[in-house]
Amino acid sequence: MALRELPLRSASALCRDTRPAIYALRPSTRRNASTTTTTTTAALSEVEDTSSFSIAPPSADQAQAFDPIARSRLRRRGTRELPASRYQYRPPKYYRGPLHPHQPPPAANPASREFQPGPFSLPRLEQTYQSTIAADVLALTYQHFPPNFRAAKVENRLREWQGASPYFKNRPLRPPRGRGEVLRLLTPPRTFRNVPKLTKVTVHSMVPEAQENSANLHVAGMVVQAISNVRAKTHKARHNVVNWGLREGRYVSVTTSMEREDAYHFLAKLIDVVLPRIKEWKGVPGSSGDGSGNMSFGLTPDQVALFPEIEVNYDAYPPRMIPGCHITVHTDATNNKDARLLLQAIGLPFYGKLND
């Protein structure tokens, strides 16, 4: 709708200065936020002569004396106003398609079964990112191009099949050279809109001992859940791997993935509390990184036990069952360099040969 109006508006904006002055007196029905509203409020006041804003708020005594629980009890004294069993709404358990008369409410509605409350706070790390880190990363990675510069477009990143064979027709393009190579992500020019940011943190804990004794899996789930504040998911081994003692179909690992507030709280806790207490921790290996903005590193069982959530009731976990874990930090950077820069700015040091 707004798009359709556009040419008209731009045209009227262009010839506004050439219009005769009499039009200025004509009342305009279109209103912008920037224009004055004196005439329109006068017109509206005739339509609606009272407004809830003009009514004074209740007096201080009334506000002090207001007790919602007492009022509710008074109202429900004796017989209930409404038969509770008939008017209590419960959303349907399953989504039965868009044409079904009984539709579940959206997930943002507290009445929905999928509703998850939150956010509960504005994490300190997120504020630091907004106020300091993002601007610094932008200044560090900005590449200036002169005005009117257009980067040469890369037409086909994949090679065609060359030759006269009739089987080359309509065949998918050839993959990149090299064994196991895939197309790397393209890195667009850096602007203030695409500064790398944290998207997700995944904690993964592999416990092959769980195949013999499921208690290991339960403990691993409790540990991962306690440190990440997110429900843990369990995973089965997909293949038999004799060397690792894996048997297909047995539960062997737990993961959680945190986003937004949980991810920021987890990383802040890790960087400010846990990692400084590890003795002779060298940092995240510089070889880490998958080339598309994700960085992983591992923690040993002793190091996991340093999390404050584990430490507070360390005795509740069975001895020698606390597992180690792998932590993957997902960012929306498109290469290792940018992702590493972001994590270094957040406070994770890297050591050794860097994987660029």
Binding site: L6, T132, Q143
Partner: protein, 345 residues
């Protein structure tokens, strides 16, 4: 299309020729017509190299400036709506979350368990900082704060957390009073004192000490100096045969002394200031100098303090100011050109 875009478009169309062509094209691009009209492919994909200046005699002298800033040290104060929203969500969480697994954290019939039960009886919920509220039962709907309630304020929540850590839940009960009366001090459980968080308002804030770096901890502070002409500016100097990055480091040392631990962020400037002379000046090399341009590099101060004794630019005074305070000190023309490189917070 939103109001902002309409406004810029209107301004652009009114501005006429003063706006550059590429900007005007970008602004007046109409999505519907852009989709209909097929652009010639080679034009957009072509690399257009920078064009040489039309009149090589006209030039600007180049200065390097440095914007030394101290980033925010603490979190910002929440807007009352934000804190009310967070409390509302926490209370919703009390209603929807599974019950607290007490025996995983407290062994049955231990003193810690008894204390937990006492405290639960008082506040009705496992969460320690959301006030007295019960998430389960017939009256769980009563999760709204009444007029004048302070449960959503951060200071109140911090106090509640500290009180919970320090108190045993027996403080104002009849049992404790009885114990007191008997004079039985033997069984009294004392928790250790918790260290209070430091005040968010420092001494420098109260004195409004603009030279201090511990003022306005929630904001970014920028170093502003008073030059020979008595104007407040960011430290700057002529650019010699050096990079902008090196020049920024040199200017910091020459202006603020060596007692500042600073980091010059990156190799690119974050903004520039252009000053046009009333009369163009003929330089020694035969160029016609129209004015001067100052390119500002970004720097962060990690430790130390500025010291203008024996500075090389004849600076007389310095201040650490937040963005809106800078506006009051500098000239209007200067402000209009530097304001967009300063952080809001």
């Amino acid at each position: 299309m939103n109001v902002g875009q309409q406004t810029t478009r209107r301004l652009a169309s009114r501005a006429g020729r003063s706006i550059c062509r590429s900007c005007k094209d970008t602004l007046s691009r109409n999505y519907a017509s852009a989709a209909a009209a097929v652009q010639p492919e080679d034009q957009s994909s072509q690399h257009i190299p920078p064009v040489a200046q039309a009149s090589p005699q006209a030039s600007y002298s180049v200065n390097a400036g440095v914007v030394v800033s101290r980033p925010p040290q603490i979190t910002r104060d929440l807007h009352p709506l934000e804190s009310a929203f967070f409390l509302y969500q926490r209370r919703l969480n009390e209603r929807t979350a599974l019950p607290f697994t007490r025996y995983f954290y407290y062994k049955a019939r231990t003193p810690a368990d008894l204390e937990w039960k006492r405290k639960m009886r008082q506040r009705l919920t496992p969460a320690r900082d959301i006030g007295r509220y019960k998430g389960y039962g017939d009256e769980a709907w009563n999760d709204e704060l009444l007029v004048g309630a302070e449960e959503s304020e951060m200071q109140h929540q911090v106090e509640r957390l500290i009180a919970d850590a320090e108190q045993t839940g027996l403080e104002d009960s009849a049992e404790a009073a009885l114990n007191e009366a008997k004079g039985g001090a033997g069984k009294k459980v004392e928790h250790e004192l918790i260290e209070r968080p430091m005040s968010r308002i420092t001494e420098a804030d109260e004195k409004n000490d603009v030279k201090s770096l511990s003022r306005l901890l929630q904001r970014t502070l920028y170093l502003l100096v008073k030059n020979k002409e008595g104007q407040w500016v960011f430290p700057h100097d002529n650019l010699g045969k050096e990079t902008l990055h090196a020049a920024a480091g040199r200017i910091i040392n020459d202006a603020g002394g060596v007692n500042m631990n600073t980091w010059v962020v990156g190799n690119v400037p974050i903004g520039h200031y252009q000053h046009d002379y009333l009369q163009s000046i003929k330089t020694a090399s035969g160029l016609n100098e129209l004015g001067l341009k100052t390119f500002f590099m970004k720097a962060r101060i990690m430790a130390g303090q500025a010291n203008l004794n024996d500075n090389k630019f004849g600076l007389t005074d310095f201040k650490w100011l937040a963005k809106e305070e800078i506006q009051k000190e500098v000239r209007k023309k200067y402000w209009l050109q530097v304001k967009n490189m300063l952080a809001e917070r």
